[in-house]
Symmetry: C2
Subunit: 323 residues, 2 copies
Amino acid sequence: MFPSSGGQVGPTLADVGEFGLIDMIIADLPDRPDVLIGPGDDGAVIAVDGPVVCSVDLLVEDVHFKTAWSPAESVGRKAVAVNVADIEAMGATATGLVIGFAAPPATQQTWVLDFARGLRAECHTTGVALLGGDITRADKIAISVTVMGSLGGHAPVTRSGARPGDVVALRGRLGWAAAGLAVLGRGFRSPRAAVQAYQVPEVPYGAGRIAASAGATSMIDISDGLLADLGHLADRSRVSIDVRRDAFDVPEPLQAVAAATGSDPLKLILTGGEDHALAATFAASDVPEDWTVVGSVTEPVDEPAVTIDGQPWDDDSGWDHYR
Amino acid sequence: MFPSSGGQVGPTLADVGEFGLIDMIIADLPDRPDVLIGPGDDGAVIAVDGPVVCSVDLLVEDVHFKTAWSPAESVGRKAVAVNVADIEAMGATATGLVIGFAAPPATQQTWVLDFARGLRAECHTTGVALLGGDITRADKIAISVTVMGSLGGHAPVTRSGARPGDVVALRGRLGWAAAGLAVLGRGFRSPRAAVQAYQVPEVPYGAGRIAASAGATSMIDISDGLLADLGHLADRSRVSIDVRRDAFDVPEPLQAVAAATGSDPLKLILTGGEDHALAATFAASDVPEDWTVVGSVTEPVDEPAVTIDGQPWDDDSGWDHYR
């Protein structure tokens, strides 16, 4: 569980070596007809149907996860989930991924085996093929996942197509990961549902393609927090967005965390990152089943802006990894 | 030049922030008709022609490069070059890449600007589109590059197709990067050609596609050293390979480095990594112009093996990043 410490028994990465580690991660991959060349060569080859959507995310130990707060299997699952969410947000279906894995030589082999099990489990859940990777040493664990996806004949759904008169709708959860992080940061392990949501986001797999088919005019993955990410969408679309406070129920675990930490549960929902819900804009008649309308798109008064019931939200509302 | 130290003047990444950094890296990208959606959305979209070849490599500060030994621009160029070499080794042409960039907040903005300039320059040289990326903080600089490529209607050339009776041919340089590393490790800066070869490998761009067209039966990128990588190829093809000592000229800079360090110049050539030459096997009549025949493929006597003039090479002959 503490891969950077050398005090535990059992083999480390220095014992199994680079090639042993590769074998551990890519063992027993399922056969897939679209994977023409899998791991083990200079490059992988995957059959695709039309344009390729691709996205990369980095997960760095002690920045994106702490080994004390997330089991290795959860880190593996999260590495896949956060990337597939980006592909979903383009209206596409993820088909294959490659992974870069860097870790200290003293990392326990069991940590890597658990990580690899989570990685492969989430690949299986999402239907994405593990195509290959690169392995190296580093002072801390760093994971890069690049996912490729297919549009299935649709046009990609970008951040720039929202139109005044559209509604803003959501699919997935908000505030749960931030609630989990808040309790872990205070040394607690419950509410367990919130902690698990921080460890592995519950990405609404398949919802991106459904939104694209329904005619979504724009879409974004909520990784930095709802207001921050709607801000990105508003900027790119040159529109303003107003969110309705009464559109949000506060689930019981979030109420509990807010009460225990003396914070506003709505702040968790509006500004909490890392849940990887999808937000999209639609003509009012096009909103798919299972999506929740939470706001509307308007002409910008001056510059694009995001408001709550017509008022600005005066709080910090997103992440900047360098600040 | 020393991004981890905070003692220099000028803005750092903490000053410009994550989004400012993204803007620096992706500024002024050329328009390309195959890039349907470029940087700035949840994912990029690129038009492709047939199956997609993909490969990922990590470059970690103080493992793959030292900022004292490689200017930032060289690190950017190398990050592209080493990945494109993998795509070449499949017989494909690189078309697009995504980058993951992690760095300490105290990193100088000038370092990142120089890095981005090198990255974009090498993308331009190779004709590959910079599609997007992810930015985060970390204790040391870590760079992940994922390249996608196209086969142009050919079958991919793998490591597993070498046949007894084929010849082994090379395109590109060997031993130069190891020579450069040897002199840098001793505190010197010359021979300059060797140092530059370590800082940015001279990948034989386009040679992979030519080899595929000529009928290469197998191919590999020489990243770990000729003997180590021919060993991988022999294992995967279930063949043995014999390399002829007299096939190699020793260029003057390698002679100079070997003399100065008291080492065997042939060892640099046979075991030095990071030059990213291509090795391929062909029917003897199929070897393309500009490729040099250096050996032959034989039936394995017992297990696949790589020999020099029929004898084993008894020295360490490759890299293992965990040993």
